[in-house]
């Protein structure tokens, strides 16, 4: 039973739940809550993106596109057309999943840098459409979004959103951990390492890549929709190439093929610019330097590198004990 608690699955989920529950003790004002909500939303995107990049080994440099489509879809349907936000969110998510399904098939036939280019291109095209079709999207100025409401209940204020996003983050982590430990998840990890190795045991690699691409797009889209309602405003900046890069960086920084790594990456790299905001002019430079430094010194990302360190310490301890005994 105790071993069960210490497993990365259960133990990790409990630890994350504890952090989410206790964090408000140190969140002093609504600005802190605001940053925490942003961390949560980015973490949800990164968990999905990590399934695609970290586990299945398929890079995407265009996920801000899906995030943006989620945000703008909800914004337009709920604010322009007066749809109930939940219906807008569901319809948008479905549409984004469908889009990912349609474009995913040809794109995912590509490999390596060609795949990077294609996903980048997809993201840029989505960005251009959003910033050009100003009749719907408000163009570069953006568009304001009504608050999220379900029935008579209105979700407003950082504190309420904190708990909502916290709960959703736990669900996202739980779903991702489940998937990875399933035959489907093993198939994804297998095709990452050797596509023919996977195919000759009966795995349809193309189908699995497409599936995980759609799942990651859905994670991004839902986070985009929620983010739009939360902040009450969306601009094309959230759809831009740079945002795609930020998302990938969070995943790689936290550690590829580590769900908790994706959360940590999102937390650190969402908070860092806030800390740097005081040195506004240096922000971009420092951010770039941090990216380079992490990749050189912790090439596996923060969480796997630390986990490895921890493990080797523990086994060293065990050796010591064994020697004494």
């Amino acid at each position: 039973m105790l071993a069960h608690l210490a497993s990365p699955r259960t133990g990790g989920l409990l630890a994350l739940a504890a952090v989410i529950a206790l964090l408000p003790l140190v969140l002093r004002n609504s600005y802190f809550y605001d940053v925490a909500v942003l961390v949560g939303l980015n973490a949800i995107v990164c968990i999905g993106l990590n399934l695609l990049i970290g586990y299945a080994g398929q890079i995407s440099l265009g996920h801000a596109g899906f995030f943006g489509l989620g945000a703008y879809g909800s914004a337009i349907l709920a604010s322009r057309y007066g749809w109930p936000p939940l219906a807008a969110l569901l319809a948008t998510t479905f549409a984004v999943a469908l889009l990912a399904f349609i474009v995913g098939r040809p794109i995912l036939r590509l490999r390596g840098h060609y795949l990077a280019m294609a996903t980048l291109g997809l993201g840029v095209i989505i960005f251009m459409v959003i910033s050009t079709e100003d009749k719907f999207t408000g163009g570069p100025d953006g568009i304001s979004v009504v608050p999220f409401r379900i029935g008579g209940f209105v979700l407003q204020g950082e504190r309420i959103w904190y708990w909502v996003v916290g709960a959703l983050l736990l669900v996202a982590v739980w779903l991702a951990l489940n998937l990875i430990e399933s035959p489907t998840g093993r198939a994804l990890r297998a095709l990452h390492s050797s596509e023919v190795g996977a195919e000759v045991v009966g795995i349809n690699a193309a189908e699995h890549k497409l599936m995980v691409f759609v799942i990651s797009a859905v994670f991004a889209s839902v986070a985009g929709s929620l983010g739009a309602h939360y902040s009450g405003f969306v601009t094309p900046a959230k759809v831009a190439f740079l945002h795609s890069i930020e998302l990938v960086t969070m995943v790689v920084f936290g550690g590829l093929a580590s769900t908790f790594g994706a959360v940590v990456g999102a937390a650190v790299l969402t908070t860092l610019p806030q800390l740097l905001a005081t040195f506004e002019d240096y922000e971009m430079m420092v951010f770039g330097a941090v990216m380079i430094g992490t990749m050189i010194f912790l090439p596996r990302g923060v969480v796997p590198s630390l986990a490895r360190l921890f493990r080797s310490h523990r086994s060293a301890d065990a050796d010591n004990k064994a020697n004494k005994a």
Partner: protein
Amino acid sequence: MSPQFVQYLLTGLTVGAIYALVALGFSIIFNASHVINFAQGEFVMIGGMATVSLVAVGLPYLLAIPLAIATAALVGLALEKFAVEPARDASVVTLIIITIGASMFLRGLAMLVWDKNLHALKPITGDKPIAIAGATILPQSVWVLGVTLAIVVALSWFFGRTLLGKAMLATSHNRLAAQLVGINVRMVLFLSFGLSAALGAIAGILIAPITTTSYDVGVMLGLKGFAAAILGGLGSGIGAVIGGLVLGIVETMSAGYLSSAYKDAIAFVIILVVLFFLPSGLFGKRGGERV
């Protein structure tokens, strides 16, 4: 051919030549290291911006331009030494993140060293349009086309005739074999960054009088250059040049005849369509992996 068409063609060729230079930079580094250098666009920016400030302190073009190119080349060498070299054995994604980090670092630095404003550069030889077949071409465009042509010729001489060029080519074909015949592949990698940076800087200097320059011009030009390199087929020199020209022409034509709002999107639509039919670009290496 209508004069309008000729006009679009000339403009497209000019833009395409710039893309080609940037794409060549991508290809050279890719060949030496299999790294896609996402900081390639920053070399373009550094070339333009450095020339602007050197001219501003009173240097003539004849001095300012070589100095700006040298500056960019030094930055390229430093990038290889301090960011790429230490992570040589890392995965593709890791290297992508490193060069993207480098591009942000350089852009941030440029913002501090210079500013956030747009800067114009005087054309090298006047700005009186020259008439051709009912259309006009700027003298600066002639410079762009001429210099690009000269560079392409020089590069094919370099890679075909000189020992160093052949060593670089050999490294791209088979790194291990190159190492075994005594080629210093680390030196090749190092130099490829310098050479790519110089090419990028030249592109940046040539285009600055036409489009103005600023600390963030590298983003779009870098992406377009990457698109051109992919279109031509990664690692193929001739592919990079043709990819760049095709991209420039199609982009200008569609901006002219279809919609200028989507000008920047066109490049990426073309890329997606081409990759759909030719998954390794126009001139890229074909064939599946062996097992």
